[in-house]
């Protein structure tokens, strides 16, 4: 039957690349590398990760040890290049160690909501019908409360502390996560290629694994990344209100609260934890945008 190819000759499109295309994730990686903003943002985030996780490498001070004499030193003071806080602890050290809890308190809720919400959303989106309706209407109940109020209420109920703040934020993030994953799954369920896979007689689990997940995980991950930027602000907010991490432990939101009184004495020093919150949140947001455009396979058409 090789003569069939001769009967229906096919000139290759001149614009088609001669070399075979790279794999999907490889091409996503290439586009990410070519995106200057995302690369710069990733470098900043890596830097933040390094100074927080590797805090003992970048500072030799103890984050809990202060000095009465060395309180509220300005930026650039000898020995304390970012100054000191209201009990005389080195601010650079506190920022580095504080980042650990801030990032943990921000990323953990998103991870939990990604697993729980993603599962529920994909289930609701693919199954549809009664299961879908049940899940989605339950989520709608949570939407009735403003997210920050809901988080405060849950924290108030469970008491303060790091794990309770993580639980509270996870509960807040699950409904939007379910909604996003439900939407993208429901859309992909009706795509012709999913129908074609159903028509080829493969099982529902196989279809979800090969066709739905690959097309759904991308958008969900992008959304999760952007949620981290919200999560950083919310978790810092909970700590600021005294509902999250408890003193004397270092955490950016908590530091912002305790430096609040010093705002007229050392305004720049007092603003530093806020700056860290803002910068980290911003970076995650920009990174999520970068992922979004790198994953859009149609852009490089």
């Amino acid at each position: 039957m090789s003569d069939l190819t001769l009967e229906t000759p096919l000139v290759s499109r001149p614009d088609a690349p001669a070399a075979p295309a790279p794999g999907y994730w490889k091409s996503v990686g290439q586009r990410l590398l070519a995106d200057k903003t995302t690369m710069a943002v990733s470098l900043v985030l890596l830097g933040i990760l390094f100074i927080t996780l590797g805090a003992p490498l970048v500072t030799h001070y103890d984050p809990y040890h202060g000095s009465v004499l060395g309180r509220l030193k300005p930026i650039g003071a000898p020995g304390h290049w970012l100054g000191t806080d209201e009990t005389g602890r080195d601010l650079w050290t506190r920022l580095c160690y504080g980042g650990r809890l801030s990032l943990l308190a921000a990323i953990m809720p998103v991870t939990i909501s990604l697993i729980v919400g993603g599962f529920l959303g994909i289930l609701a989106g693919y199954a549809g019908g009664i299961v879908g309706t049940l899940i989605m209407r339950t989520m709608d109940v949570f939407y009735a409360f403003p997210s920050i109020l809901l988080a405060i209420a849950i924290c108030g109920l469970l008491g303060n502390g790091l794990s309770n703040s993580i639980i509270a934020l996870a509960v807040v993030f699950i409904p939007p996560m379910v909604r996003v994953s439900e939407t993208v799954t429901a859309q992909s369920r009706n795509l012709d290629f999913v129908e074609a896979a159903r028509a080829s007689g493969t099982t529902t689990m196989q279809i979800i694994r090969y066709h739905v997940l690959a097309n759904v995980l991308g958008p969900i991950m992008v959304y999760a990344t952007s949620l981290i930027s919200v999560s950083i602000i919310l978790s810092a907010g909970l700590s600021f209100l005294g509902l999250g991490v408890t003193p004397p432990r270092a955490e950016w939101g908590l530091m912002l609260n305790s430096l609040r009184q010093a705002i007229y004495v050392q305004p720049y020093v007092a603003a530093l934890p806020g700056l860290m919150i803002f910068a980290t949140s911003m970076c995650f947001n920009l990174m999520s945008d970068g992922f979004r455009s790198a994953m859009d396979i149609r852009l490089n058409k």
Binding site: E7, T8, P9, L10, V11, S12, R13, P14, D15
Partner: protein, 328 residues
Amino acid sequence: MADTASTPVLRVEDLTVRFTRRNTDVAAVNGVDFSLKAGETLTILGESGSGKSVSLKALMGLLPAYAGISGKVWLNGQEILGLPAAALAKLRGGAVSMIFQEPMAALDPVYTIGEQIAETIVQHEGCDNRTAMKRALGLLEQVKIPSAERRLKNFPHEMSGGMRQRAMIALALACKPGVLLADEPTTALDVTVQIQILLLLRQLQEELGMAIVFVTHDVGAAAEISDRIAVMYAGRFVETGTTRQVMRQPMHPYTRGLLSSTVHGGMRGRALETIPGSPPNLAELPPGCAFAPRCRYAADACRRDIPVVTTETGAMARCVRAAELMPA
């Protein structure tokens, strides 16, 4: 005063459109010439990506800002390419108007059909609303919309596909245009509705004497409506002639391929003659004849330049070998 029957209402000379963005340079239209008299229909026949719709949009000034348009276009003797936006807007819907493949995209969903037609009339002629509404009713009757009075108060989504197409034609005719540009107006319609719209356009042209530029990929629709056909490939007219000339004695190998690969009655049991390959990438057009890579008659000369071959009957083909390939 020149004789209106012989002066073209629309004349286009060397129309070129390029889309330049970032690192791509797409040569969508590469030198299109034609002229059109009142009451005449020219069909631009071409496949997707041939530049036929882009040409129409360039005439209407509907292309995005990054499109580089050059050439000359005269409408009733007035040069219109490069006119300021306000003057162009005045022409649109006035002396020249356009109908589209998707009437839903051209009609505003929040106004009734009557309101939209009346609004156009008021804007271009400055008459009062009552007169305009009366004219709108007349237009709906002219495009044979049954129970026009009631339909005047319908929103676009309340009408069927064929009815919407008629309503859009009525809207386009509101200010008695001299030139009607039709961009695949029958493509999305069912066969039984398609023929109704074609017949309607033919009849309206007889009544109103306007010139029509009809863009389509459908050979059947072209045969039904046109006086002349221009076959477009890779942004160029590769062949022009009367409908009879193009359909009966195609000179260009592409036209022949297109006609022979169009399935029609009585071809059962025979393998279809096809054009191998797919249309060229407009960002990397080959030098010379763009059809040469797919053409079974291609010679070396085809890769250099493309001569324009004209017969004594007025047909034109851009092909080195047109003369020898011409049917006896």
